[in-house]
């Protein structure tokens, strides 16, 4: 977008400044509605067990899966519960998957620290060939084997399996299916070019300040203070900026104060305090010009369990004076100009990456959409609030843009569904590492990366 429209006007930079510099009004915000109400928790009570989450997940997704199973294997297949299974009878069972993994870190490792046993170091992937899959419904569980990819699937997915029970008590799977894409939403996108900038992983407060210049360049481009008139007019088409998590860097999470002696740490300030001040100043510059949605991430000062609640506005005193700043939850769902956005800050995808053989983040993102659930591994390996009434992570409608923050690199794909769904899958890269953000065109659901690079202290020239 920027390059083709900016080039003709580049000569304008070499001309003397005109008396009346041209101004480009930003395109007005046409329709915005925040649909992340299910992710906002009011009064939180942790006195419940997690069995409720799995029970409502299964009960909520069972009708859809039964419909899918009938459509795939015929209307006359037998849908049974595990308690009604008979040996040798071909039937279909809907249930939750559980993967028994040997390397999965458990709470016992914390206990082992007390007993001076060596705890297991964090591994990039916890899969092993000896992992086993089990299917659970409301009452029983059964071991699965057969035409089902044990390495690929993760705990918490709701599947329908077709096969028969064998004499040794295992279920031989001939075929299985997931919930598939949710029903499509009607399209009412804008007719002219409107852009949304997605960035994540600003990583403020890190030890090296190299990404700071890139962050400042990003802010300058969006507010129109960079480039010739062509670039400024392009920037005026950006209607919104969404910051998808990890605004603070992992370095701010040091827990030295817990381990070191009190006299060493008495006067030290938490590293996140300075980082949040920097964030406030950056957001102030952005908010004066464009609406900004700020989602919390893994290293941000909010709760750990999903859904993460919005950052509190008392931490951002300068920026929260502006109504253009919106502090939102993670995951975040909103309708911008008739286009439905849904996305997370990346914890769900990286958790599935650790427990599945899928290596490509975009493939995992697509898989969660096909499984009909944003984060199936919560609450097993990813912290989750103990819901009891309904599971808000179940996908009931197909979003138009489905994004995930803090990916190792930029990836995007336009997915077409059988019922006319069109989803743009976007992996937003980690800005502190890649200095790349994404621009999404709402008119035709196209996405392009925008990279800011600067010459560091150690590069020549």
């Amino acid at each position: 977008m920027f390059s083709e429209q900016a080039a003709p006007t580049a000569q304008g930079l070499l001309a003397p400044p005109s008396g009346q510099p041209p101004t480009f009004p930003r395109v007005a915000v046409a329709g915005y509605s925040d649909l992340s109400q299910p992710f906002r928790l009011g009064e939180r009570s942790f006195g419940r067990q997690y069995a409720h989450v799995y029970a409502v997940r299964l009960a909520g997704m069972r009708p859809g899966l039964e419909r899918r199973a009938r459509g795939r294997w015929g209307d006359d297949i037998a849908l049974r519960r595990l308690s009604e299974l008979q040996e040798g009878e071909k039937c279909c069972v809907v249930g939750t998957l559980f993967k028994a993994m040997q390397l999965q870190p458990s709470i016992l490792q914390e206990i082992s620290e007390e007993h001076n046993l060596v705890p297991q170091p964090p591994l990039p992937k916890y899969i092993q060939p000896s992992d086993e899959l089990m299917l659970e419904d409301e009452l029983q569980r059964i071991k699965l084997e057969g035409a089902i990819d044990v390495q690929r699937l993760v705990t918490g997915t709701i599947v329908a399996v077709y096969g028969c029970e064998q004499e040794d008590g295992r279920f031989l799977v001939e075929d299985h299916c997931l919930a598939d894409l949710p029903p499509p939403l009607p399209w009412s996108g804008p007719s002219s070019d409107r852009f949304v900038l997605l960035a994540s992983g600003l990583g403020l407060g890190s030890v090296s300040g190299e990404a700071l210049l890139s962050t400042q360049l990003l802010v300058d481009v969006v507010t129109g203070q960079l480039g010739a008139e062509g670039e400024q007019s392009c920037a005026a088409h950006i209607t919104r900026v969404i910051l998808a998590g990890n605004l603070l860097s992992q370095n701010t999470q040091s827990r030295d104060t817990i381990n070191k002696a009190k006299y060493l740490t008495k006067k030290t300030q938490a590293a996140s305090v300075e980082a949040v001040k920097m964030l406030d100043e950056i957001l102030l510059q952005l908010c004066t010009s464009v609406p900004v949605d700020v989602m919390p991430g893994e290293f941000d000062p909010t709760n750990y369990t999903l859904p993460q609640q919005p950052l509190h506005r008392c931490m951002l005193p300068l920026a929260s004076a502006y109504a253009t700043l919106r502090l939102v939850t993670n995951p975040y769902q909103a309708s911008l100009d008739g286009v439905r956005f849904l996305g997370t800050s990346g914890q769900n995808i990286s958790d599935i990456f650790k427990y599945s053989s899928m290596d490509d983040y975009l493939e995992i993102l697509e898989w969660t959409l096909l499984a009909g659930h944003i984060s199936p591994t919560a609450p097993d390996t990813l912290g989750c609030y103990p819901f009891y009434k309904s599971d808000p992570f179940i996908l009931t409608e197909c979003p138009h843009v489905y994004f995930c923050g803090n990916a190792p690199r930029f990836q995007s794909k336009l997915l077409q569904g059988k019922e006319g769904q069109r989803v743009l899958l976007v992996m937003v890269p980690d800005f502190s590492a890649t200095q790349t953000a994404c621009l999404i065109n709402l008119r035709d659901l196209s996405c392009q990366p925008i990279a800011f690079s600067s010459f560091g202290a150690d590069t020549d020239d």
Binding site: G47, R48, A51, H52, A55, V56, P63, E138, K389, S390
Partner: protein, 116 residues
């Protein structure tokens, strides 16, 4: 014996306040106390008298029906939420829980034995 023996008959309960979401065992014991006042029991740490001042003890048939609602597996786990919450959740998920249960729960709203 007309009542099944419980472990709390022989072991006294400790003085410890519990939060919301009491396990079913405790509930049955408290119902027991309502019916068999002459049984020699250990001290109850939470007395029901200050909370529900002048109410007649609920109908044992009603308590039996509620207990059966708790233990029926179709409506999901019963621990940690009130019976009314569980009933409404079952209703929303389309599991058609029986109507009389809800009426009974609303009727005896202030009785903690009933609302769980």
């Amino acid at each position: 014996m007309e009542q099944p023996r419980r472990i709390t008959d022989s072991f006294p309960r400790r003085r410890r306040r519990r939060g919301p979401g009491r396990p079913p065992g405790r509930l049955k014991d408290r119902k027991d106390k309502d019916k068999d006042k002459d049984k020699d029991k250990a001290q109850l740490k939470v007395r029901d008298c200050p909370r529900c001042p002048s109410q007649p003890p609920p109908d044992p048939a009603l308590m039996e029906m509620l207990r059966r609602f708790d233990l029926s597996w179709e409506y999901g786990p019963c621990s940690g939420i009130t019976r009314l919450q569980r009933w409404e959740r079952a209703q929303e998920l389309g599991l058609s829980p029986p109507g009389p249960i809800r009426d009974a729960l609303l009727e005896h709203r202030d009785n903690p034995d009933v609302t769980y």
